[in-house]
């Protein structure tokens, strides 16, 4: 089983799926930063001064990570970036669930806040984190002195 998860084709498929999802997530938000800022505001985590800055810069960052991961140009730092984003997002969702907040995840465009969807997003963030960690360590392992 471990051999399958370490196989070249599985790693490639994981890269394309994970990178594609981030590419889509960024593209769905970049056109409407105001709606995304409203989504981030529902988490009640960031001060108002930072909300719009995050809403403007996070979608391009997701798109960049997606491109780098899908194309394999910088798959290693991209998978680390995706892991970090998934952890940050998981913490944001976790605190919202703990505080009983109705949040709009805003992950793939804006929607209606709901606790059920928040649990779903929390689980998805966990999966993204696992996938990111796996890709990162596989990339580190494959690093050779000729190809650092």
């Amino acid at each position: 089983m471990k051999k399958f998860f370490e196989s070249r084709w599985f790693i490639l498929a994981l890269r394309v799926v994970l990178g594609g999802l981030f590419l889509y997530a960024g593209a769905s938000k970049i056109g409407n930063p105001l709606a995304f800022a409203d989504s981030i505001a529902t988490f009640k985590l960031l001060p108002p001064q930072l909300l719009n800055v995050v809403a403007l810069s996070l979608p391009p960052f997701e798109i960049l990570l997606g491109i780098l991961l899908v194309t394999g140009l910088q798959a290693r730092p991209a998978s680390l970036g995706i892991t970090v984003l998934a952890i940050v997002f998981g913490i944001a969702l976790g605190q919202a669930l703990a505080r009983g907040l109705q949040v709009d995840c805003g992950c793939f465009g804006s929607g209606q806040p709901s606790t059920l969807k928040t649990w779903g997003s929390f689980a998805r963030a966990g999966l993204f984190c696992l996938a990111g960690v796996w890709l990162y360590f596989q990339n580190l392992k494959r690093r050779s002195p000729e190809n650092p």
């Binding site: 809403a55 810069s57 391009p60 970090v84 580190l140």
Partner: protein
């Protein structure tokens, strides 16, 4: 694992530096792209309620609000039963406070689009119809029972001098769940 990480320390450090650079580039790109938008997002965030308040101020500055208005006679909230009768008997105006795209995909028969997220533009389009009589019955709905859009539109209309306003508390989800007739924008 520790030994593995120690061996790979230089690569991990390089990745972290790369990510910091990528974040900086994306921050700059995001702010730059924003400058080319039709209406750039200000760097300071304003809540939905604050933005609605600003819109009302701008509209009111163009058209002064009438000094006196008749008292309200619609109940503050309409349940599905009352709202269905209101719609079927065409007792007044129905406003859809959801984003315009959702209104196009399907709405309550006869409902007009006055989206919360584009209130000024929507209000300008409906101005003639609405301002003809600020005491006419107006029922407002949004996507469901928990959405805030209809409440914000109602508050804004009240600030603009409309006196006969009601919220359809179940919203679009209650309407569709009850399998009521839907209308699609042409």
């Amino acid at each position: 694992m520790r030994q593995f990480l120690a061996v790979q320390a230089a690569a991990i450090k390089a990745d972290i530096i790369f990510l910091f650079l990528a974040v900086s580039v994306c921050l700059a790109a995001g702010i730059l792209i924003n400058q080319f938008r039709e209406s750039p997002l200000p760097l300071a965030y304003k809540t939905k309620a604050e933005r609605m308040h600003d819109s009302v101020q701008r509209i009111a500055a163009q058209d002064p609000i009438p000094a006196s208005a008749p008292a309200s006679h619609l109940p503050e909230r309409l349940n599905l039963e009352l709202f269905s009768v209101y719609v079927e008997k065409k007792q007044g105006v129905v406003l859809d406070a959801r984003p315009e795209i959702f209104h196009r995909l399907g709405h309550v028969p006869g409902a007009l689009s006055l989206p919360r997220d584009d209130f000024e533009k929507g209000y300008a389009a409906l101005k003639g119809k609405l301002e003809a009589d600020r005491s006419q019955p107006i029922a407002i709905y949004c996507s469901g029972a928990d959405c805030e859009d209809s409440g914000l539109v109602k508050k804004s209309l009240a600030a603009l001098g409309y006196t006969n306003l009601a919220l359809f508390e179940g919203g679009w989800s209650a309407w569709t769940s009850a399998k009521k007739q839907e209308e699609v924008a042409p």
